[in-house]
């Protein structure tokens, strides 16, 4: 009995050299990155600052939090939701043709490859660069933010759409063919029912992310809750920042909860 165990142990693949090599590389990389850690040295009163920030967040500016005018948190949140919603819709619409072009089971390899590179390029450019470009088109405001959201959504959404399209079950199309369906009927009864739940689920997920990322737009004056938040923080008005942050966190948690429910329902049918 013991002999068999010992034998089994000895016959295990010997990959410790490989593992050691990877460990050395990873630790080496981490040490290498430690070299870049630098700060301008404002950390002397950092502790006091941290206490101030926490204090502000715990004691939010109640007047701002429940103010129903255009400066209040509720309106800013609604505006942010609208930017994220419309941004997701426009982005999802842009993504559909891009995804069909880049799905390797539908288009020839070179075309699909170019499509993928294009999607990667779109994904790489940081949001605030797009923000600046769109402000030239629409002027500052929520419209520019919406367009920025839509372009930054394209990357992830079309990537997920491509995966959905590549996972299409072609047997269904073949059986529809065998039944004598026309192309239009094949799309309606064979392709759309397979893709729709997946597409909708991706769009809802991206809406979640967009809502969370909407603060980035505030940097370039593209509307939403980001600008007031960053102004408040830069001016050390922590109570204001606290009330905006609380509003945002609660909103995102609620939306996330709802969207998870919907997505679970979509995947289970």
């Amino acid at each position: 009995m013991d002999e068999r165990i010992v034998k089994a142990y000895e016959s295990r693949p010997k990959d410790w050299i490989w593992q050691l090599a990877i460990a050395v590389i990873v630790i080496g990389l981490l040490i290498w990155s430690l070299g870049a850690m630098e700060t301008s040295g404002a950390s002397a009163n950092g502790g006091k600052m941290a206490i101030n920030i926490l204090n502000g967040i715990v004691h939010p500016d109640q007047e701002l939090l429940f103010n129903l005018t255009k400066e209040g948190v509720p309106y800013l949140l609604v505006e942010t939701i609208c930017i994220a919603f419309m941004g997701t819709v426009v982005g999802a619409i842009f993504s559909v043709p891009l995804a069909f072009l880049s799905a390797s089971n539908l288009t020839p390899k070179p075309v699909a490859f170019i499509g993928r590179i294009l999607i990667m390029i779109i994904r790489t450019v940081p949001a605030f660069v797009y923000g600046l470009m769109f402000i030239r088109v629409t002027g500052p405001g929520p419209f520019a933010g919406l367009m920025t959201m839509s372009v930054t959504s394209i990357g992830m959404v079309s990537k997920m759409y491509i995966e959905a399209i590549e996972d299409l079950d072609t047997k269904i199309l073949e059986s529809l063919d065998a039944m004598g369906c026309s192309t239009w009927q094949k799309i309606l009864y064979g392709i759309l029912p397979q893709l729709m739940p997946n597409f909708a689920s991706t769009a809802i997920y991206r809406f979640d992310i967009n809502l969370r990322d909407a603060t980035v737009l505030g940097l370039v004056g593209a509307g939403g809750i980001g600008a007031p938040l960053i102004f408040a923080m830069n001016a050390y008005r922590w109570n204001e920042a606290g009330s905006i942050l609380i509003g945002l966190v609660v909103l995102v948690l609620i939306v996330e909860w709802i969207s998870t429910k919907i997505r679970v329902k979509l995947t289970r049918g």
Binding site: I121, F128, M133, V137, V216
Partner: protein, 273 residues
């Protein structure tokens, strides 16, 4: 949704053998109406106007066209910031994904039997995940001063919540048989966890950490905007000075870096799974 079925009664078919079957009416109209309504409100609030897009859309490409050809000579000024960005994301991702493990253990129902602790841990993970990275970076710059440490902290905080959530979900789906067997043999819970659970979740942990690192390189580019170090700093500066050929070069370098890191990490992740 039975009210819906009452208003729009299901369609009845009589089959050849005389049986009647019902097909419930499609719910699609509700969703379509909801989406249209939301779109209408959004368009009103944001001032979305396709006509403006069509008329002034070419303005979008003005900056873009000025970026070409990129100023290749600017490359020497980019090398250090882009390396900083990579280092920030590497260290931040590693810190965050290792630190989250004990908390992920406490947040999974099969390891931690105390339901109150589980609920509190999950709430903490959710709240941290909701906090925009940009905001945590800004807070970090106030505490640690401008520079890469602030960016690294922000990335670590984000990775902590992201990997933490994935890991507690992963830990909950493992096969508990080995864990129970080791406990029965007299190991304590920590030892049993290390020998029975860790090998099962390790591939998923490594794969998700790599994926997280990939994404963070891209994210780190934005952080420079609030002074948290890395490539975003010079990107913001060059945009401010309207040196678009330099901006083009920065974006090109960023793209190539992200491409290399993604290719390597995708290869590694394929090996892992």
């Amino acid at each position: 949704m039975s009210i819906y079925d009452k208003i729009f009664p299901p369609k009845k078919y009589t089959l050849d053998n005389g049986k009647a079957v019902e097909q419930k009416r499609s719910r699609a109209p509700i969703y379509v109406i909801f989406v249209l309504l939301m779109s209408y409100i959004s368009v009103k609030v944001t001032g979305f106007d396709p006509a403006t897009l069509a008329k002034r859309g070419n303005q979008f490409f003005v900056i873009l066209s000025r970026m070409f050809p990129p100023e290749y000579g600017y490359f020497n000024n980019i090398v250090n910031p882009i390396l900083d960005t990579v280092k920030m994301s590497l260290l931040g991702s590693a810190l965050g994904s290792v630190l989250c493990l004990p908390f992920a253990m406490l947040a999974s129902t099969n390891i931690c039997k105390n339901r109150f602790v589980v609920a509190v841990m999950r709430l903490i993970f959710s709240i941290i995940r909701t906090l925009p990275t940009l905001v945590s970076a800004l807070i970090a710059t106030f505490i640690f001063g401008l520079g890469t440490i602030a960016g690294t902290t922000a990335i670590a905080v984000f990775s902590f919540s992201y990997i933490g959530k994935i890991m507690y979900e992963e830990i909950e789906t493992v096969d508990m048989g080995a864990f129970e067997a080791m406990e029965a043999m007299g190991f304590n819970r920590t030892e049993a966890f290390i020998h029975a659970i860790v090998p099962q979740v390790m591939p998923a942990f490594l794969s998700n950490s790599l994926y997280n690192f990939e994404g963070n390189v891209r994210y780190a580019a934005v952080l420079g905007y609030v002074g948290a170090g890395g490539i975003g700093l010079i990107l913001n500066e060059q945009l401010g000075w309207r040196e678009y050929p330099n901006v083009g070069m920065i974006l090109l370098v960023l793209f190539v870096t992200v491409f290399i890191i993604e290719s390597v990490s995708r290869y590694a992740r394929k090996k892992l799974v």
